[in-house]
């Protein structure tokens, strides 16, 4: 096995025992990137003729281990453009809190940033200004989105591990499509300072990794209170690796019946049922539960998320950074800058968000959505009184073809039907590989837990993973 194919925890052991050095890891990654990046396109702004350089951050526990960062997380001096024309050539003057934490822990920030849907608006990475990323398991398929670049880079061994962000499924759905592990932490667990905001009440940064242990290690590094993010929560961060290997016998697992509906791919259904059987054979007690307001999650999300986005994206006006269109008139300059700088989906969401917040429509849309959000959260609270976890598919289908849903925004929005509720309720959830379709596309199992109970997710996910082989199968590229 090549060095770049190893997990972070395997490499940390090898670094410690001096079986590999930093340079070996970087060289292996570069060789791999030169070979497969022209097909996968996981990275934004990649040019094969440019030699990448990196100064290792070898102090600290991580021994310089490189990490790939999504293009919407600020890295000082390193282009961070949200894969949008409007942030063209933006080099942040500061690091996001998660980047600071990674550097302190001894991680090297990989000099290429991961591709994504523009401003994280999408479920396929087709909305990137730099073009689509391709799924390593089938290059004609999307990698999912919006953190499709991060997930594809990890799946194709072009990265050791990566950070993504998740507003409605943007870590879990691409992790599921690419056959890797992805976690959305509890809202408030990880600081959002330096994450270019999409929907501030929903966004969380989280890990995309090759296995559960890596996700546990990375989550611990990036979590914790940050005075720079007033919504981060001052609560101790446990060592999430402590619970790995703990018995799962007797854990009570809810299976929400609203997640097993018509329209769900039959092969996904089969794979998920097999995964649930596997968990039962390991001793969990599962029963059907109900989340009665599930069908309202997507409409609620597309009101709240677009409303917040329209407000957050007001800052891109050609004044302080990024692209500016030529005009002698200020208002014209704003309008042309935003017309030329934003892609189609960004414009659609900003205009929808502006509409639901505007006078005369606010009560009918935005306020109503906030109230239904309460009902959705209450559904989860009720189930979690009696259950330790819930288990569902991450997505109703495996990866779809590039272009297949691009013309129909509503169809694209429904890709996130199983992941969106988690963000609305603020709870943590993980997606782990749990099998394949007949055509060889990965399927992800989603596990949800109570707020701040990431330990439970890791415990259950690890037990499943260690008793299956799915996470060890690699795409052939």
């Amino acid at each position: 096995m090549e060095v770049n194919q190893l997990t972070a925890h395997e490499l940390l052991d090898k670094l410690k025992n001096k079986q590999v050095v930093f340079k070996d890891i970087m060289e292996a990654l570069y060789v791999r990137i030169q070979a497969v990046e022209p097909k996968v396109k996981a990275y934004a702004r990649f040019k094969s003729e440019n030699k990448l350089s990196l100064n290792p951050q070898t102090n600290g526990l991580l021994g310089g281990l490189p990490i790939t960062i999504k293009d919407n997380i600020c890295t000082e001096g390193l282009n961070t453009e949200c894969c949008s024309k409007i942030l063209g050539n933006f080099r942040p003057p500061y690091d996001a809190t998660v980047i600071n934490k990674l550097k302190t822990a001894g991680s090297s920030i990989f000099p290429l940033k991961a591709n994504m849907d523009e401003f994280a608006f999408g479920s396929s990475t087709e909305n990137s200004y730099f073009g689509s990323t391709h799924n390593p398991w089938n290059l004609e398929c999307v990698p999912g989105g919006s953190s499709g670049g991060s997930a594809a880079a990890v799946a194709s061994d072009e990265a050791i591990w990566a950070l993504g962000s998740d507003t409605g499924g943007s870590i879990r759905q691409p992790a599921s499509f690419c056959g890797v592990v992805g976690l959305k932490p509890t809202y408030g667990r990880v600081s959002r300072f330096g994450l270019i905001a999409f929907a501030s009440s929903l966004d969380q940064i989280g890990p995309i990794t090759k296995d559960v242990e890596d996700a546990a290690i990375l989550t611990r590094i990036i979590s914790g209170y940050d005075p720079n993010d007033s919504t981060s929560v001052n609560q101790d961060v446990p060592d999430y690796t402590n619970n790995l290997g703990k018995d799962i016998k007797g854990l009570k697992i809810g299976i929400p019946k609203e997640y097993f509906i018509d329209g769900m791919d039959v092969e996904v259904k089969r794979v998920i049922e097999e995964a649930i059987n596997k968990l039962e054979s390991l001793g969990v007690i599962s029963s059907k539960v109900t989340l009665p307001h599930t069908q309202y999650a997507v409409p609620v999300y597309y009101i709240i998320a677009t409303a917040e986005a329209s407000s957050n994206l007001a800052r891109f006006d050609g004044v302080q950074y990024g692209y500016r269109a030529k005009s002698d008139n200020l208002i014209e300059m704003y309008k042309k800058t935003r017309a030329e700088g934003f892609g189609e989906e960004a414009k659609r969401r900003i205009i929808l968000g502006t509409f639901v917040l505007s006078h005369g429509y606010y009560d009918a849309y935005y306020l109503r959505a906030l109230k239904v959000r309460t009902l959705i959260k209450n559904d989860f609270d009720t189930v979690f009184k009696d259950f330790d976890c819930m288990v569902t598919p991450t997505s109703p289908t495996p990866a779809f073809k590039i272009g297949e849903r691009a013309a129909d925004p509503l169809k694209m929005y429904l890709s996130d039907i199983y992941t969106i509720s988690v963000n609305l309720a603020g709870i943590p959830a993980i997606s782990i590989p749990c099998g394949f379709t007949k055509k060889g596309l990965p399927v992800g199992l989603q596990i949800m837990a109570k707020p701040f109970n990431e330990e439970m997710l890791f415990r259950l996910a690890y037990a499943f993973e260690q008793n299956t082989q799915w996470h060890k199968i690699k795409p052939r590229l």
């Binding site: 009440s201 929560v233 017309a339």
Partner: protein, 95 residues
């Protein structure tokens, strides 16, 4: 509820986005579809429900009113498309 082309045009102006005629046409149709889908929320009785403006029980987070380190003017202006001394420069606002 429905949305017509004039409303989309007005909202686009509020959002400071210039739309071409073909964009306006397409966007109006798509927003009409999306709002049609969203309208299923109107079937719920939510009279007595409190809005979830925040999902965590956090209120009024304050910090001490003390000076702290912030970006220098040079750093803050590094990415400006146009600047003049220590200022961002924009087209003339007042005639």
């Amino acid at each position: 509820m429905s949305i017509d082309k004039k409303t989309v045009k007005d909202v686009a102006h509020l959002a400071r986005i210039e739309l071409q005629a073909n964009e306006l046409e397409k966007l109006s149709r798509q927003l009409q579809d999306i709002l049609g889908f969203i309208d299923q929320l109107s079937t719920l009785d939510i009279e007595q429900v409190k809005p979830a403006s925040h999902i965590l029980p956090i209120n009024n987070v304050l910090r001490e009113d003390k000076p702290h380190v912030c970006l220098t003017p040079d750093k803050a202006l590094e990415n400006a498309p146009s600047k003049n001394g220590n200022f961002f420069s924009v087209p003339k606002i007042i005639e």
